[in-house]
Symmetry: C2
Subunit: 210 residues, 2 copies
DNA sequence: CAAATAGTGTCTTTTAGACACTATTCG
DNA sequence: CGAATAGTGTCTAAAAGACACTATTTG
């Protein structure tokens, strides 16, 4: 491709450009636990995983690369949240950060406890680089997605019972949900597998899938 | 500030960086007309107004600068929609575009017909640079904001009657709304000025403000 | 069988939609 | 006064919440 020249005969690369980073709030629900977020260590500091955008790379691919490296997880579908653009935000220079949200089933996370940990979102303290705001937006976005659709970001892996789905939605919402309303809202959006769950006390529950 | 060096003794500016642009869907409702968008001319091509981000500039300030120049309008509150990052999107080089939405009262737009025009969103044809997708997102975002709150982006300028508010919301929604439900939803969120509108046929309507 | 959980039926309360009626202005 | 628009009251239909009852499993 021939280099573009503007009306001053300058290429785009003759003008100052910012570095662009991606930072991602990876949310998950450990078994029996509350909605949690993945933090990684750099030095003695815990932060959301992130990386700089490489040349010609898509933002989503940069997110996947950072998560593959730092949490051994792949095949996610990152969603953009917001661009943080305060020129003084990063002391390394002029850096735009594109915040992302991703959700991953607990079973697919493989983390090295020295480099990463998963913390309930209510227990996360102060994070550097304004990462608390990213986390807040991620949680709000996740909650609003889960308000009307069954597990839209696929935090459940295979087939599941209505009870498991409701437990998940309650963990995401951070509060108990009503059984009747939940059933009425979700059941029409699900397909039964024909199978039932076994090995539990009580009447076996039907299994569903998407 | 001392220049930051990474573990390879390189500054951030030693790595390739993209140019960053902002593009904005400016939405307005002309009197008695449908929801419309501001388009500007470059050469013989009509597109959404946009500009490149200057060094150290905030994204919102770049948006305001481009709108001041191209539509003579100031004092808006741009909202980020999405970052478009396809490396092949712009033939001038590697350009990230941060799409924005802004709403402006018709009365505050002063446009030069040779350089800009306002077109109903249903009549906009194919735009370059993937700007149709920005417009679609802008309209969807505006509609969802207007679903539950009275004129949240302040398309109305001063005091207004409930009928004027409903006309506005119908223009935004692109469909008629029910009088009873609209009233029940909006009236509790408004404050009356104590004044009534004059000069119209029929019982004078109360004026409201935010 | 008792305890536990799944699934269904039905009543009540709340909300949304429909519509009639009154109030106040202009021409 | 008649036409037009604003504002209120009330009936009905739909949705949400509450709760009781039946069904089927484990121990």
């Amino acid at each position: 491709m021939e280099t573009y020249r503007d009306s001053h005969n300058r290429a785009l690369t003759d003008y100052p450009r910012p570095s662009v980073a991606v930072d991602t709030a990876v949310l998950t629900v450990p078994p029996g636990a509350a909605l949690s977020v993945l933090l990684v260590r750099t030095g003695d500091e815990w932060r959301l995983p992130g990386t700089f955008l490489h040349e010609g790379e898509r933002l989503a691919d940069a997110v996947l690369r950072s998560l593959q490296t730092k949490a051994g997880v792949s095949g996610l579908s990152p969603r953009q949240l917001h661009v943080f653009d305060d020129p003084a935000r990063d002391n390394r220079g002029w850096v735009l950060s594109v915040a992302h949200l991703d959700a991953v089933p607990w079973s697919r996370l493989s983390i090295d406890a020295d480099l990463a940990r998963v913390v309930p979102v209510t227990d996360v303290g102060a994070l550097p680089y304004g990462h608390n705001e990213i986390l807040d937006r991620a949680v709000a976005t996740l909650r609003s997605s889960y308000a009307s659709a069954p597990d839209p970001l696929h935090l459940l892996d295979g087939a599941f019972t209505l009870r498991q789905l409701q437990d998940l939605h309650e963990a995401v919402a951070g509060e108990p949900l009503m059984r009747d309303s939940f059933r009425r809202a979700m059941e029409p959006q699900l397909r039964t597998t024909g199978e039932v769950a076994a090995g539990t006390v009580g009447k076996p529950a039907r299994l569903f899938e998407f």
